[in-house]
Symmetry: C2
Subunit: 242 residues, 2 copies
DNA sequence: ACCTGAACACCGTTCAAGT
DNA sequence: ACCTGAACACCGTTCAAGT
């Protein structure tokens, strides 16, 4: 008489159907787990199906395409980036960029999915939009300038971190070997500044690194970046006041 | 007796070999052309081979992997982004970011290749490194702060533009349809700011767009972004002075 | 409603063989 | 030295069929 616990929400006393073996949530979670554990190249519709013990085509009953599956995964990753509303706009912006970076740092292999695809750019989080627009309005931006400021902030938020967590090449050792020999080949007469800095920069700077932010975080650069951007917005606003 | 014009540099008077049919430059140019004309998904080792009328495996005589081929393509795209040295550091930085964006705008489909891959991040352009370090040194950054500033600038340079030219989904029409209905669904009581701004923002803002910068450039946002970033660096430097 | 199963048109890359 | 040719282990997605 009593429904078996395995029976799904559509289970009836008579004419019962078996509960679905799969669910959308399970598929999305499995996808994210594969990205975390195996890297981006370990994630595919087929590998998700394999991990769930079903045919690849079964996935398509729950999601219309690879793109949409990725969008769902991104939504989970960016679930809690919106700061509390009581912060001053400068602190709120700093918190937003920092929380976004922290979210990516928890799932570094997923970073390329967000910066690069229009859709998963941030699967329309209304609270993020409302919060950001409100704070920028409080700061003093209006009309077209408000839209520009919104775009500048989103660009700043996603841009740096996407870079920091860029994909390492499959043959990272070769790259390391090449870069380690790089400083010795610099012509100090033609490139004096580079000759002096290449050593200390090696391994912890854009262009001159072979690992990404997952193993070599760029905390100092990020802090400077955020401080500069927010201070710059303040400067522009105070200029416009006059 | 005379060498035929088709004979390559290794051609000898005796024991001649036929000139190679392919060349690295030709392969790289073909790859870039395919990206420009067909989009990123029209570019593959196999499609390059097809366009050149050879077997896919012939490509591997000239380049060790897909990754390296992409790095070569990126090098061509970013050939001329370094501004002239006589500019003041603020103008030099603005010119750098603007020239980078212009270079991507000429090959918008290639944008995701740069922001996302560690290697092709900018295939070690020594003049870019030297120029940037010199200007930041002139600005007043030293030691670790110089490295941080370098990374902040590269992050700012690549980050915004990568976003602006993010990949449109294959089913952009669906996205457009979804987003056009989005403003009507906003609860104005809970999200008043968004309710007011969603209309004017639609189609020309991150998250709320279905086309990228190739068709809908974000000039105003980019200008604000660059001005804020440079003004922010100035502000940080003058604070540190005291 | 939910999943199996076969099939299509692709990938990047390796390895042996030709000339 | 330079390229052909076959092969391997993958992709995302469609479509028909089962239960």
């Amino acid at each position: 008489m009593a429904k078996s616990p395995a029976t799904g929400p559509r289970g009836r006393d008579k004419g019962q159907r078996a509960a679905p073996e799969l669910s959308k949530a399970q598929i999305v979670e499995t996808g994210l787990r594969l990205i975390d554990e195996e890297g981006l190249q370990g994630f595919s519709v087929r590998s998700v199906a394999k991990a769930l013990g079903c045919y690849p085509t079964a996935i398509y009953w729950y999601t219309p395409s690879r793109h949409f599956l990725i969008a769902e995964i991104v939504t989970i990753i960016l679930r809690d980036v919106v700061p509390t509303a009581e912060l001053e706009w400068q602190d709120w912006l700093r918190a937003l960029l920092t929380r976004y970076r922290a979210a990516i740092a928890r799932h570094p292999n997923a970073a390329p999915l967000i910066g690069v695809n229009l859709v998963s750019n941030a699967s329309v989080d209304v609270d993020l939009l409302e919060g950001l627009l409100t704070k920028l309005h409080q700061a003093g931006f209006r009309d077209d300038a408000l839209i520009d400021a919104y775009n500048a902030v989103v660009g700043a938020m996603v841009g740096f971190t996407t870079q920091e967590f860029a994909m390492e090449p499959p043959d990272a050792d070769d790259l390391q070997g090449y870069l380690k020999g790089f400083p010795a080949g610099i012509d100090a007469a033609r490139h004096p500044m580079l000759a002096r800095m290449a050593g200390p920069m090696m391994g912890r700077s854009f262009i001159l690194r072979w690992q990404n932010g997952a193993t070599r975080p760029m905390d100092g650069a990020f802090a400077l970046y955020v401080d500069a951007f927010v201070a710059g917005l303040e400067a522009l606003l105070s200029r416009a006041d006059r």
